[in-house]
Symmetry: C2
Subunit: 352 residues, 2 copies
C-alpha cells in the first residue's frame, strides 16, 4: 500500500489471499485497510473450503446471498471513506475492474502489481516444511510405482495410479496434472497422458507433485524400460543429467536467475541440443506450482536464501522421445550446506 500510495488494497488472486489470510474460500477477496483487514466471502467460509482456516486477526464479512466479493469489498472501502484502493490489475478482469469502479466512484483505483507475489518468493521454515513433506510424499508415490509392473500399462493409468498414491500418503491432492510420457512422448514438458502403453525399450518420463497444506512441489524422472538402455539413450541421459546437475550446483543466494538457467542450458547447448532447448529450466514453487522466480534466459533478479525452485532441464527429440530430470530444491547459503534437495529419488538411469 505504501508503494502503491493508497490507503487500502484489495487482494483477489486466490494464492495471494491464501498467503495473507491463511485461507481463501472460493470467490473471496481480502481488503487491507489502515485500521483493519477484512476477508470478504461470497458465502459462509465453511461451505467453501479451500485449505486452512482464516487468520484469527481478520474480520470476516460474509455476503449472505452470494455476489462478487471484490465488488462488495470496494463498496466497503468506499463506505469507510478511503479515497484510493490498490487492486491486482494482473488478476482482475476489465469487466470486474469496471464493476469495482462503478460501485465506488469516489475511489481512485491504482495498481498493486505483483507486490504480494514478491512477498511470497522467500519462504519461512513453516512453508518449507510443507514443501518438504510434499516432496517426501511424491518420492514415496514414485518409488512404489517403480516396484510395479509397467510394460503394457497406459500413460493415463500410470498417472491416475500415481495420483491415488499421493493421496494415500497424505497429500491434499496432486500439485498439478501428473504427466506420464512413454516412448516418443518421453521428455516432453507438460505432456498430457494418452492411451499409449509402455513398451520394452521405451524411455518413460514421469513428472508429479504433491500439494501439502496448500504448498506444491514437483519431481520428474526418466527411466528406461527393459534390461539395458540403447547407446543413444545413455548418451542423452548423461547430457541432461549433467545439465541438471550444473543447474543445481549453481543455486546460491545472490546467483542471478539467468545464470542458473545458463549453467544448465550451456551443457545442453554444447552437446548439440540447441534446437531442442526449453523456454525455461526452472521456476519457483509454493502455493502455486509455477511462481516467481523464472529461471530463464531473459529473467532479471537474483536468488535469495529460502527460495524453493525447480531445476528441470529436458530434451525432447521429435519422433524418438527424450529425457527430463526435475528436482525441487531450496536455496541455502554455502555455510548451511548449500542447496537443500527436497526430492531425493535417485537420478541414476534405472532400467525397469
Amino acid at each position: 500500500m505504501t508503494a502503491a500510495g493508497t490507503a487500502a488494497a484489495l487482494v483477489t488472486r486466490p494464492a495471494n489471499v491464501r498467503y495473507l489470510a491463511a485461507a481463501a474460500p472460493q470467490g473471496s477477496a481480502l481488503l487491507l485497510g489502515r485500521r483493519e483487514d477484512l476477508l470478504v466471502c461470497a458465502g459462509p467460509p465453511d461451505d467453501r473450503p479451500y485449505d486452512g482456516r482464516p487468520d484469527e486477526n481478520l474480520r470476516l464479512h460474509v455476503l449472505p446471498t452470494g455476489g462478487d466479493a471484490a465488488v462488495a469489498a470496494a463498496d466497503l472501502a468506499g463506505a469507510q471513506s478511503a479515497d484510493s484502493l490498490a487492486v491486482e490489475e494482473h488478476h482482475l478482469t476489465v469487466a470486474r475492474h469496471r464493476a469495482l469502479a462503478s460501485v465506488a466512484p469516489a475511489l481512485r483505483l491504482t495498481d498493486l502489481g505483483g507486490a504480494v507475489e514478491q512477498l511470497r518468493v522467500v519462504k519461512d521454515e513453516e512453508e518449507i516444511s510443507c514443501l518438504r513433506i510434499g516432496a517426501e510424499i511424491a518420492d514415496q508415490a514414485l518409488g512404489e510405482l517403480l516396484e510395479s509392473i509397467l510394460v503394457g500399462r497406459t500413460e493415463r493409468h500410470l498417472a491416475l495410479e500415481l495420483e491415488r498414491r499421493l493421496v494415500d500418503h497424505g497429500a491434499d491432492g496432486p500439485a498439478f496434472p501428473t504427466s506420464v510420457a512413454t516412448g516418443p512422448n518421453s521428455g516432453r514438458r507438460g505432456h498430457r497422458p494418452t492411451d499409449r502403453r509402455v513398451e520394452e525399450g521405451d524411455f518413460l518420463t514421469v513428472c508429479l507433485g504433491a500439494t501439502y497444506r496448500g504448498y506444491r512441489c514437483e519431481i520428474g524422472r526418466t527411466f528406461v524400460i527393459g534390461t539395458s538402455p540403447a547407446d543413444w539413450q545413455i548418451e542423452l541421459y548423461d547430457v541432461v543429467f549433467a545439465a541438471q546437475r550444473a543447474g543445481r550446483e549453481s543455486l546460491a543466494p545472490g546467483a542471478g536467475y539467468r545464470d542458473v538457467d545458463r549453467a544448465a542450458r550451456q551443457v545442453l547447448d554444447s552437446a548439440g541440443y540447441a534446437e531442442a532447448l526449453p523456454p525455461l529450466t526452472g521456476h519457483g514453487v509454493g502455493l502455486e506450482i509455477d511462481e516467481d522466480p523464472q529461471l530463464a534466459p531473459a529473467a532479471m533478479g537474483k536468488l535469495d536464501a529460502c527460495v524453493p525452485v525447480t531445476v528441470e532441464p529436458g530434451v525432447h527429440l521429435p519422433g524418438r522421445g527424450g529425457v527430463r530430470i526435475d528436482d525441487t530444491l531450496v536455496v541455502r547459503p554455502e555455510a548451511d550446506g548449500g542447496p537443500e534437495l527436497l526430492t531425493i529419488t535417485t537420478k541414476e538411469l534405472l532400467a525397469l
Copy 2:
C-alpha cells in the same frame, strides 16, 4: 463483430477459442478478421495439447519464442490496418488489456462481451452426442462403485476410485473435481472429499462427471448406507426427489430459466426447507461444466431446444447431512418426447 461494430475480434477465453477453432492450445488466442481467421499460439500446437486439432480453415500463427498470444494477435490486427478490435473484457485482465492497447495504439478496443458464450448455449447434435457418451461413462463409473463395499472407505478414496473408473471407460478425465460426501457432509454442493469414512446409517452423496472430447456432463445421487433408511432420511429424500422431478418436468423450449428454478424451489420451500435453499437449481453444461444458462431466481431468458442443463436441487441440514439429486438433460420439444435424460442411473433411494 457486427454487434460490437468492429472489423476484427479477439477471442481469448479458452472454451470460446476451443468452440470456434476446434482446438485451444494452452495460451492461444483467436483473431477473427474480415478476410481470415488466425489462431495465434504461444508455441507449436502439438507441444501444448488441449483437445482436438485446429480447424483446417484456420491459419495458424506460432510465436516461436513464446510470449502472450493475445498481445501478438493485437499487434497483427493493428498491422492489418484494422481500426477497431472487440475483446473479451470479462476474460482479459486489466494488465493484459493495457498491454494490448500499448502494442497497437491505433486500435480502438471495444467489448465483445459474452457473444461467443451466447453462441455456445444451443448445442448441435455432434456436441450433444459427446455429452451423451460422457453421461454414459459417468453412469458406468457410478454403477461400478455401488457394487463395491463402501463402509469404512474415505470420501477421498471413493472420489479417486470414481475418477479412475471414468478414465477406464474412456473419459478424457473428470469434468470437475469429484465430490463424495458422507454423513454430516452429505447434500453439500461442491463438497471437497475429506478423510471421513463411510459409516452405517450415513447418507452418501456422490457428484461426478466425465469430460468426453472436451464436453462435460454431471450426475449426482444420494444413497443411504445400511439396511434401511431412517424416517427423516426417507422424508428428506422424497422432498428433494419431488423438487428435482418438478424441475425436470418444467424443461421445455420457451420455459423461463427462473420458472424451472421456481418449479424445483417451491417444492423445497413448501416442505419447510426455505432456509436451506441453494442459490441455483441448475445450469448449462458443455465445454465448461458451469455455463449459461443459470437456472436461478433472478435469471432472465428462456430455454431453447437443444440446450443441455443440469437439474440439481439439494438440501443440506447442518450437522445432520442432506440430499442432492443431479441430472444432465437436453431440452427437447414435446413433439420429440420432451426433455432427454442423459444420466440414467436410478433415482430410487438405494440402501447400500
